[in-house]
Amino acid sequence: MLESLTSYLTSNTTPGQAGNVLWALIYIFLVFGGVSLAVMAMNWLERKALAHFQVRLGPMRVGPHGLLQPIADAIKLLTKEDIIPDNADRLVFWTAPLIILCASFAVYVVIPFGPTHAITDLNIGILFMLGVSSLSVLGVVMAGWASNSHYPLIGSLRSSAQMISYEVAMGMAVVSAILMTSLNRSGTGTLSMIGIVEAQQQQQIWYLFKFFPLGFIAFLIFSIAMVAETNRAPFDLPEAESELTAGFHTEYSGLRWSLFMLGEYAAMIAVSSIAVTLWLGGWLRPFPHALSGETWDLVFSLIPGFIFLILAAVAFLGVVRMPKDPYFRVQTMGLAGFGFLLGLIGLVLFLGPVRERIQDIFWFTAKVAFFMYMYIWYRATFPRYRFDQLMRVGWKVLLPISLGVLIGTAIVGVVD
Amino acid sequence: MPEETKSSPPPSAGQPKVPAREPVAGAPPSAAAEKSPAGATSEKPAGAAKPAGPLAEPWTSPLVAKLKARYGSGVCEAASDRGQAYLVLDRSITHEILGILCEEEEFDYCVDITAVHYPKREKPFDLVWILYSFPRNERLRVKTMIAEQESFPSSTSLWSGTNWLEREVYDMFGIRFDGHPDLRRILLPEDWRGHPLRKDYGIIEQDQEWVEAHLGIESGQ
């Protein structure tokens, strides 16, 4: 028992590959817990960042700077009355949010947070991800149909048509990246998520910059298609509030509604992870080759700790700027505690062994966080596309370009 | 809506208003004996409030001359009151003249259609069209009198925008428009009874049955 615990720590594979069930379970808990936590953090961050884009403050009441708002929301949603419309198809109505949730969480099985930090490494990893995430369309269609109401039905039809359409362009872009993995001596590529990152490491280049601008265009196509795939602004037609009230989840409330939201945010993180893995070098730190060597390794491995220390400093700045009124004492103490926690994490990250194992995860998360911020930014900036325009962009713009990029990549790859 | 209307019981102060209002409403019949209320009131306000305001004076223009030549006495009155020109026409020719105004005289914008109710008069309704001509930058008011239960040809074929305006007149006064594509109540519910802007419809009156059936409350007041 103890041996299997410790043997994994020194091994060089993922727990799934090693067949280490215990560690696989630990990883499943860690990843799913982490994702749920990330969804909550994202929820807070989105409201806060969006608010600052829009000259307002956002949540300020629950906890310092609304830090506890997601928890309050979760409690509210859990205790809310649970409504099932009379004429709804109960079974389908029940399973729809579960399917979406399962689909978007199952994807995390293959996401590599580091060379060994993944639940498992399927050799069809990327195929698995695309396949499983495409299953969430089912949930959307079922939810729309089961509600037995016009708005959800139209919303779900729109949404599924949109997701299927953009999957095509997305798939093409992915294939062009996979094609790049085969540019090695043996001439065989890989579908494994870890393999893709390792291929980038071997070729000493992020696929974003490979065959410039081909890789870049493929990346752009993917990052547009992934926004459409997750039904987010400016492609949030299925839940276009002003037209279809809330789209396919109009009739949902309380817990089941929150499952939809959880699924949506989890899916956002998942597709961002795909983009990071395929084009941004996954867990690799910036400039692993240009700035290589012991010293640079040390410098980059210290960055996570410093970032947390900076965050802690920001929190303490907030403490100083809090009004001195006794009314705010609890809030101030809470914020100070939060800052202290951040600082502690930062200090722990400086410890040698932790530093070594954590930095991959840190870089991966940082890259994903960039995409999450972009999601918020899009939402604050863009109006919403109309359905026919959305389809036109998907089929007549993105698909031809992605096909062209695919062919171009193949040609350049052969010529090279 | 119920909440909104419920809060108005206080205007029980408004209730005595209604009888108090009656004599005033009864006042115009003397005026209404003549063709229009505007022409008749020269002496009353002069004594009442202030030196006589500028009052209706005959209005002459090529348009009036043309119409008078064509329809003779059908054009009952052509006057200008406080600088605003209006025509009072006989019911039988009004629709035709509206057509002429729209098509020949470039009154291409029907600003408003409304009605006024004079219950004591023989023909109790004034129908009023307010027309405007973009090319001439001129506004014109056309009026005609119609009797209770009498209908009037719809002018939706001339200005498509009169559709809702006529529906509103129908809703509020019960004047029917022949040939209107879709003459239904517009502001009040479809099955409401009574036409609220008639003078015999009190300000706190309502369709009790409708309120009870649809809102499930005793009274909307």
Partner: protein, 169 residues
């Protein structure tokens, strides 16, 4: 990868496949049937995985469960379900049905009994890692012509569908 609890998963997935197949034909509501079919297809994908054919499993999920069945659902949802529900579930062609089922069963039994002779056990070691590669080599090698014909057929079908749907343009 060391296999874990193989028999359990085999029976579990087989049961799931069979149960959902039965549900597909017994449910009166077409949407429920379609959903049961999706479950069956997913269970089948699981079986493929157990046969060390991850690529086929992935394609099964993407194409059948994710793509084709969603289109199925699309169509079914827009059909008037009330009428379909009132109609009789099974028609009276028992004889033909029994014959077809019997023939299929016989075929399966025959394959099971004589299978080893017909299909000799693969001499190659099972190579999970290169499964995708092998599929690709076969598709674009020996079966190139069949593959191209199949895709041409699909293209024709697609153009036909577009022409039919857009007849008015």
């Amino acid at each position: 990868m060391a296999p874990v609890a193989t028999p359990f998963f085999f029976y579990f997935l087989s049961f799931l496949t069979l149960a959902s197949a039965i549900l597909v034909i017994t449910r009166k509501n077409a949407v429920h049937s379609a959903l049961a079919l999706i479950l069956g297809l997913l269970a089948q994908a699981g079986l493929y995985l157990m046969l060390y054919a991850p690529f086929v499993a992935g394609v099964q999920i993407i194409l059948y469960a994710g793509g084709i069945m969603v289109l199925f659902l699309f169509v079914i949802m827009l059909v008037n379900l009330e009428r379909a529900q009132k109609e009789e579930q099974f028609n009276r062609q028992w004889l033909a049905g029994i014959l077809a089922a019997g023939a299929l069963g016989a075929l399966l039994v025959a394959v099971f009994l004589k299978g080893r002779a017909l299909f000799p056990a693969s001499t190659q070691p099972i190579a999970e890692a290169s499964n995708t590669q092998q599929v690709g080599e076969l598709l674009y090698g020996p079966y190139m012509f069949a593959f191209e014909i199949a895709s041409l057929l699909l293209l024709v079908a697609m153009i036909g569908a577009v022409v039919m749907a857009k007849r008015r343009i």
